[in-house]
Amino acid sequence: MSDAVIRADRLNKWYGSVIALNDVSLEIPPGITGLLGPNGAGKTTFMRIAIGLLRPSSGAVEVAGEDPWNNLAHNLRTGYCPEHDGFYEWMTGRAFVRWLLRLRGRSRAEARDGAHRALERVRLLDAADRAVGTYSRGMRQRLKIAQALAHDAKLLFLDEPLTGTDPLVRAELIDLIRSFEREGRSVLVSSHVLHEIEALTRSIVLFHRGRLVATGDIHEIRSLIDRHPHSVSVRSSRARELAAALVRDETVAEVSIPAERSLLVRTRRPDEFYGRLPQIALELGCEVEEVSSPDDNLEAVFRYLTER
């Protein structure tokens, strides 16, 4: 028997007449695994079934050898960082994490200590006593991760944890997530950006339109994606100056300005580009507010995988 932490067998999920997961069978090993696919591919549905938030329409899923549905012991072992914010904005970050620990059955003292440790771990202690409503996007992502790990979860489910973060926060969060693996925890992290997952792990699972497309080593997928130009969306208050600088860079194939404060960069060397972008921004002295990658390039890979 393999040592898979998650095992799905002919898993299906329908929302009315819409099929979200279609006959998915897979095994996910310990360590960090990236769940990759464009928006609407079924990543979140798979994650929510594995957490026990959704019941499969048919098929079965086992997490650490147990059915996650309505399973209290499973809930105590797993931590979930949802894609969308689910905060009470008036609560402070500290009160929020402490409260969720109380919902997990911790005593008052354990909740207080656990919240402190988790907030320290995600480097949010300085803002811990501020209302969540005042938090930036990056702080919100950190807070969601803090609540997911605060109860010493063995298995973490992180749904798009890097979305909308700036390059600095993204690098910090990647380091943080990788540290979970070093401690001996397992992490299932979803993204629609290959580059993000690549920075975290080599083990990936690809979903497309509810189907499992591929599992395995990211390098095989990488060679496919490098044949297609990679789109990167950048938000900056000095978009035009940044565009002028970027277009001169050898890693950039094309730059367009689709909206005020927004750039769309196309590159065939995304690794190098992601390394160059902070340097160029620093040289110009301009702030990069957000870096994200649209689905288009990934769609091309999925088309290749599904149509070959």
């Binding site: 929510r48 209290l72 949802p82 409260w99 919902l103 005593s107 070093r182 401690e183 001996g184 792990t201």
Partner: protein
């Protein structure tokens, strides 16, 4: 992959019992409910009115032998049984707080935050019900208790401690009879929409609609069952049943009983069955809706 640290240690403490976990949920819910400005204003107005009434009665009682409304259990019976202020107050508070209870969780994607913790769907329902009920009790039970104490202080009747204890039980029961079905029904409406405004409006329409329809039917059909259509009548009839024994004793003292609207010639178990049925159906509806939440976040 290289796993070099392996410092992870699973938690080995004792899991707090279910009531503590639900209690944590209720405390946060109540804090959230009190944070609303409109709810604060409504409750403050009620307490000002109650304290004003107590003051006037205190002055009146110093000049008269007996004031009818202070006699026996009239004062809190009247407070809990009247459409104004209590009926309107509870209706509005339920619309404000009950209506947004689940709707806001849906709107802010907070439902998964509960269900991924040690909170089951039943715990969630119980917690939300307790939250809305506890909040509504601050508009029924707490003022009624104040009036109970005031009656003790102001009234010149000689009422035994046993009768006062029965009154205390009756007003507590009456408050619960008013609040519990309303809270669950408001939750059922709240589970219908992400917009808290919709369940609030639906609840106000239910409450006022039942009173208006009952009034029209009573006028036209002139049958006793027409009174059963009014939500307010049902709660009032049940409340009256709780005071029944005590009412006899007050009459024996020769005090005047205040007329309470909505009394009807049906035994207590008829309105109890209707309100109980509404509460049960509402609870089942919320549990059914929670299965539907699955695909909504």
């Amino acid at each position: 992959m290289a796993i070099v640290d392996q410092s992870y240690q699973p938690w080995s403490g004792d899991l707090q019992p279910r009531r503590r976990r639900i209690g944590a949920m209720v405390r946060v819910g109540i804090r959230q409910a009190y944070a609303g400005l409109m709810a604060k204003i409504l409750l403050l107005s009620t307490y000002l009115m109650v304290f004003g009434t107590i003051g006037i009665l205190f002055i009146a009682s110093t000049f008269q032998q007996s004031v009818a409304i202070v006699s026996g259990n009239n004062i809190y019976r009247f407070y809990l049984g009247s459409i104004f202020p209590t009926g309107i107050l509870i209706m509005t508070l339920a619309a404000l707080v009950g209506g947004r209870s689940i709707a806001n969780d849906l709107r802010f994607n907070a439902v998964s935050m509960y269900f991924s913790k040690a909170i089951t769907r039943t715990d969630y329902l119980v917690g939300k019900w307790a939250t809305v009920s506890a909040f509504l009790l601050s508009g029924t039970l707490v003022p009624a208790l104040l009036l109970w104490i005031c009656q003790w202080a102001i009234s010149r009747e000689e009422i035994s401690a046993g009768s006062r204890a029965m009154d205390l039980l009756a007003l507590t029961g009456h408050s619960l009879v008013i609040v519990l079905p309303i809270a669950m029904y408001a939750l059922a409406l709240s589970s219908l929409s992400r917009n808290a405004f919709v369940p609030g409006i639906l609840w106000v329409m239910t409450f006022f609609g039942s009173i208006i329809v009952s009034g029209i039917l009573t006028e036209r059909v002139e049958e006793d069952w027409c009174k059963l259509v009014s939500w307010h009548n049902l709660a009032t009839r049940l409340g009256e049943a709780l005071y029944e024994k005590r009412v006899v004793k007050v009459q024996a003292l020769g005090s005047n009983l205040m007329p309470i609207e909505g009394t009807m010639p049906y035994p207590w178990y008829v309105p109890a069955a209707i309100l109980g049925g509404i509460t049960l159906v509402s609870a089942l509806f919320v549990l059914w809706r929670m299965r539907k939440f699955e695909g909504q976040e």
